[in-house]
Symmetry: D2
């Protein structure tokens, strides 16, 4: 029996996930949608033979919805996730889980009280084949212990609405989760450095920025976040271990020699770079629900990311190394 | 409505395709299987909730089968494809379409008589992202006209049952189809060169071999076929054009520095190298049937490959450049 | 007329430079040597048809010596360089110019008083073809302004005599000079981070270490120094600019596919990595003396490096960002 | 005592070699020049403090000339080399040694009669670090026996004076010598293929061309010669061995990410690509004369190349595989 999926939020990313579920993921299909843009959502519902609901709450409550995808406006994530937990329905929520760590904590508490893992957060890096290979190398200790990670997250351009804090909240958040998962270690401190700025930025955005994270065992991560790098979408993650270095390879399918250059193409955007990861994320989400055992990023992971982001903000404002402290992790998530 | 698929032949590749259809391809599922190994096939049928048929003919005739996949023993391909055509059912046949060009021709004739494209041959290279990028570059003439192609098809090892002719029939056949498709040109001649042999081969296999193909417009292709190269599964395709060269990139997801080497991993086998191509092949096959317009490799493509293989065999035996001549292509395939 | 070279210090690096001057550099040859290891130095003098001097001072004073190379024990560098300045003779001094910044300052003062540039310091990175290409790209602003540099300096192993401060004094010193030269900017601050340690180190060496340097215009440099990386000698320098990134390529002359790996070799040691740079350094040194215009790293550059190293030491001990301040640069060096 | 060098022919390549000898090679300097362009050669002689001779013969006979470099017009190579042999003087002759194999044979005979190796041919590929690494791998049989070589020789553009036969005589000659030296095997047959032509060529030049060479032990070489490839100067040499493939790496000193491309630069011309090889060639030539033991490409190598080129010409005209047969190699060259 195919799983009936209700999607709250039918903007760009919502539409992509609907298409993904209906065309790429065996075992699930979208039966219901909801959005504040009623007209567009109703039209979409017609197209894909789904029911339109006026509110997310009604959608979640519907017997025609078995599992929920939340891709609505960030400030509404928390309430829809809490509502899904209330109904005991599995819910996939795009990052961020909530707009602050307090909101994430409320979700963790609700889920712990429900006594069952229902929430998965959309940290899709964990489903990228490169990161998976990195994790395997780290876990098998093929090259000994990891000591340092040199990382970069680069976007070609950012618009006027992209402000200084978003470098962490919208961009660095991916590494904050992925590297914690990669190393299976929590962070203990964050420091932020604000280097010379590109002339392609604007007044309200310091670009680039540099984040230095330290883990429990003393591993240090340096992460460049540069959202106006101009040349493409570029993700680096080099893990320096005791006897070797292993890093993400830039994906390329062909190479070219032309006009004096020997080149491969750089991905123009995150969709191109991580499309397979998104597909695999949803495939495994559906598969894990079918077997009753969620394996993806949990509400606790979303909370840990939020706490780290809070520390980064403070570190940026003070210029100082800032401690990061998490409460004891509930048994549900161990 | 999901398409009901009947699979004839439940050996290794058959099982893989069944898994693929049931887990990866939206819009189709396996309802029936058949194999001469009755016991294994029946057990499999039970596992996947499908019906077992004693014969391929019965499976094809069944109203519970809408479309057919043929992955049985090579010499049986022809009869099952002809049977499917007789029933007007879409049929996907693993290569080779038939064991000789005469058999392929009979299929072409039957399909032309039926007046509808029903047959797709399993040339999965066409669905590899690297080849697709090559084709795009050639079609847009981004680097001018293609002039030469330097190719290699390398397997780590071949066993005692792998004989000299199989270098073309089992291995080179992939390039014979893929390059004809890439260039959208028929071949006019073939020459084979038998270089110095590796000590890892056996008496009945000349390994490596070199094939030189020439197309209608004079493009020359050199293809190394080396099935005991020891180091991995390795596919090269460098297209030399008037103003640039574009070639397949070896897929890699991470790079490593260790023990004095800066390396990426080579795929160990064709499954690893082309797994995404297989998935995409079946996805598009199902999609094209849903829209009533087959877009994959046709029976005519299977026939053209068979005619070319005949010429290669003659070229190898004589040591001479051998002409390749196809009859006029029927309107159905244009 | 060939230039007569006197070499003080005939240890490993001294012998290499002698060989270099006599075999690779047109226009100069070694006429005199001196070393505290009298026996070895005399034997060497005989072999290469040079005169042996009991002391460096006698060698410098000799009319048979036109120009001087100092490759003796580090603590003696200062006195020999000062002696050469006293005699108005050009002197090439291996790094460090002196064991502390005060010593470097005395050399600068003596040279300024002499009123002529006579001293060149052995910072050979400036002669590496990769760094030269980086500098060209930065100077032409081909990719806009440089904003950040990500660097690494890795040695395969360090012995028991290699102590924590040497990561800067013996190893990082190369980058400290090369990056200041690359950017043509002085440093304003240093911070040091001590990440998780490799198990291949010993009690008196914290390995790896991370240095963060900031320049006058706000460019930030992160430099990993890892002297027990096990896998080879590996130098990274990636310059992130406003519209592109340009970095050192790992030198390789062949690539290999074998045993499941697609690889190039990593240099085993600094000699292999920078041999051409050393040759070119001496070629240009002799050429610049012939034309009466020293172009290499000056005593001031040696002093600036020493001041930076002092700050790094303080930064490591305190864990704090430490300011770096140079006095006004004398006109002689502008 | 420095070796006194006389240079016959002061065109572009002659001037380069003069500069090389005077500035880069320890142990030799140019004392005499000669050229049919009297005015230019006299001016040059004055500049470098050398004597001008009206004829090559006078230059060779002069007691002020110890060793001779021939970089004159191709048809004069033979007579100057023979003259140098007559005077018992070492002579370096740029390729070709003579304009045909008969001329080369006359030089071989004269040298054999003289009973001493005096002649070195300017096949500088043998001094390229990449080829040297390839040779080492082949000799140590690190990857077993070599079976096939895939090669390419590409120039960005050729002018109207470059005619079809020059693809072998001026261009392919480098590989003809280098690969014979690499494999330490003579050739037994040649075949030429004329693929589809680039629109950047002219009526009297078939471009590109493909040469297939076979060695005594059955190794097959395919060599693409493409002199209007537009994109740069590009040399490929991939040696397929029994357990691995080893190939020339494209030299690069930096890599760049910019405008959607991840690239290294391709050498624009052969000077850039092989400048170090030329330097090393002359360094070793002078060194080998000093020790009385020529180690470079011999007159016999020049002859073997000429015989192979004859066969290539015949193969191109006939379209057939053409046998290559050398007489017994004289003891002098073994």
């Amino acid at each position: 029996m195919d799983l009936k999926v209700g999607v709250i939020g039918t903007g760009a990313i919502g539409i992509e996930h609907i298409k993904r579920i209906n065309e790429k993921v065996q075992g699930a299909y979208v039966t219901a949608v909801s959005d504040i843009n009623v007209e567009q959502a109703q039209r979409l519902a017609n197209q894909i033979d789904a029911v339109f609901f006026e509110t997310g709450e009604e959608l979640i409550a519907s017997p025609d919805v078995a599992i929920v995808v939340v891709t609505s406006w960030d400030p509404t994530h928390e309430k829809y996730v809490l509502e899904a937990i209330k109904h005991g329905k599995y819910v996939f929520c795009e990052k961020p889980l909530a707009t602050d760590s307090a909101g994430c904590k409320r979700i963790v508490d609700a889920e712990v009280k429900a006594g069952k893992k229902l929430v998965q957060v959309g940290f899709m890096r964990r489903y990228d084949r490169g990161y998976i290979e990195l994790k395997e190398a780290i876990e098998t200790k093929k090259f000994g212990e990891p000591l340092m990670l040199h990382c970069a997250h680069r976007n070609p351009t950012a618009d006027e609405n992209y402000l200084t804090p978003m470098a962490i909240i919208n961009t660095g958040i991916h590494e904050i989760d992925a590297l914690r998962w990669l190393l299976q270690e929590d962070y203990v401190s964050a420091q932020m450095i604000l280097p010379k700025q590109t002339s392609f930025t604007h007044e309200k955005l310091h670009d680039p920025q540099m984040l230095i994270l330290e883990t429990v065992s003393g591993i240090h991560i340096d992460l460049e976040i540069f959202v106006n790098c101009q040349f493409g979408y570029d993700i680096k993650c080099d893990v320096v271990c005791e006897t070797g270095e292993i890093g993400l390879e830039d994906p390329a399918y062909t190479h070219v020699k032309a006009k004096g250059k020997n080149y491969t193409k750089i991905a123009p955007d995150w969709q191109t770079r991580f499309v397979e990861a998104y597909d695999y994320e949803f495939e495994l989400w559906v598969r894990s629900i079918q077997t009753g055992n969620l394996t993806g990023p949990t509400a606790w992971d979303g909370y840990a990311a939020a706490v780290t982001m809070d520390a980064c903000g403070k570190a940026r404002d003070t210029g100082e190394r800032t401690l990061i402290q998490l409460p004891e992790c509930p048994a549900l998530y161990k």
